[in-house]
Symmetry: C2
Subunit: 302 residues, 2 copies
Amino acid sequence: MTSPLRGVYAPVLTPFNDQLEPDVERFIDHARWLVDNQAGLAIFGTNSEAASLSVDERINLTDRLLEAGIPAASLMPGTGACSITDAVTLTRHAVESGAPGVLVLPPFYYKGVSDEGLFAYYAELIERVGDDRLGIYLYHIPQVSHAPISLALIERLRKAYPQTVLGIKDSSGDWNNSKAIIDAFGADGFAVFPASESLLSRAMPHGAAGCISATVNVNPAGIHAVYAGWNGPDGEALQAQADAIRQIFQVLPMIPAMKYVKSQKTGDAQWQNVRPPLTRLAPDVAEKLVRDLEAVSFAVTE
Amino acid sequence: MTSPLRGVYAPVLTPFNDQLEPDVERFIDHARWLVDNQAGLAIFGTNSEAASLSVDERINLTDRLLEAGIPAASLMPGTGACSITDAVTLTRHAVESGAPGVLVLPPFYYKGVSDEGLFAYYAELIERVGDDRLGIYLYHIPQVSHAPISLALIERLRKAYPQTVLGIKDSSGDWNNSKAIIDAFGADGFAVFPASESLLSRAMPHGAAGCISATVNVNPAGIHAVYAGWNGPDGEALQAQADAIRQIFQVLPMIPAMKYVKSQKTGDAQWQNVRPPLTRLAPDVAEKLVRDLEAVSFAVTE
């Protein structure tokens, strides 16, 4: 089946109050601002601190987003977990909530696991959820998960579950890997989302589906402009401006850096809160971040 | 405070039925056999496939063990999790169940986290549980967690929470690291458990508290004999025999190998089940395992 999802997605930042509980209102506000700027919502990705949330917290945040009127069609929730039990619970809830796709991290505790074991994990998940509406997007982030999604694994999953395994987020940062996946499976409707907007102008003509990128949290309109206009008259300039912003963030701890900028944009210091083991941006680093962003005409305060 | 816990602990294997649900009766039987052989129960360790269990599954298995009459004093449950919410839920339940200690893995999703972030995680856990009965044993397994417990972190935690942070399991396999921890904190009552019985004769005279070792699941009596008799007339022979068994397992995927042997010992093929991403032992590997064990006079069938 051809992936129904394309476009620019944010792994939506998760705000915490001063007791480090998820802050529902700020989460809804941020999601709404992203949607208003034409971004899809890959809630509960790496940059959402999803690993730091319990299953119940993830389900509750999803429910509250939908109650607030955020369209289910905009959601691509992260539902992978080390435990198949948790992955099934989260995936079933996402499907029943109307999410057209879920982004599924492989189990990431055990190291050196085999393709056979990863296939068994995804197969068990698909069989247990047992819902024709399920659309799975694989999550390749080997530098964090230590469980790479190989081309051989994609092939096996596509063959076994052609109606369900619909795409991949490639967070390897390796364009040659994204390209190899598009070359092998793209013609068949498989969607490949690189994890950085810096690859959009190179990836879109080759058949990429868009991108799922951390910095969509701070620059959704700029990144959507590249997605929509890479082949237009302003394509190069749009890409260059998005790249300039991206480069400033990606040399920093991304989550605290984006949360710091969000706190400046909203005038709300609480946005800087992160759950351990992450830590806030150091003051000198934060000051330099603001200066660097202002130097590329990025408005840090509204 | 001086650690109340010493001895030989098994990261208790978790049996699964053919639907890959935790098998409560087999779990209780295995735990009882371990206790009868003088092993403590480090339920929900790495070799318990704890990462593959949900919070609810872990809580339920603990409750059922206690209902079956397994003494709470024998328990050192693993309660670490990527999410502080989950770690608090599991730790609070363990303490309220009467477990005298809990073994706490650091959050293991994010890579390259700082000592500052790990300190914040443990501090947040201790403060939220807020119970004087809590005894924390840190879990150093850098090759899996990618979040090492440094000497500087131990020192900081001991200073902040001297009544609560009572020991460590050192799964690095590096005796020099275990020795450095004992040298730095042992005199003060801090318990160091190497993760292999092969270190017992070297570690016990230096002040180790025992060991927490995977192979206690298959050789509890033999390993306890080393713990109790390393300095007696049979010490060397006991250590050599335990080492011979250990060496056979540690070149294999440990969990499927131990489960295979358990299935042979009990005549119960269901014991071979593992949750993905782990996979069963291949038949040829299993046959060689049995031959190798028989060659060192280890009774694979009862």
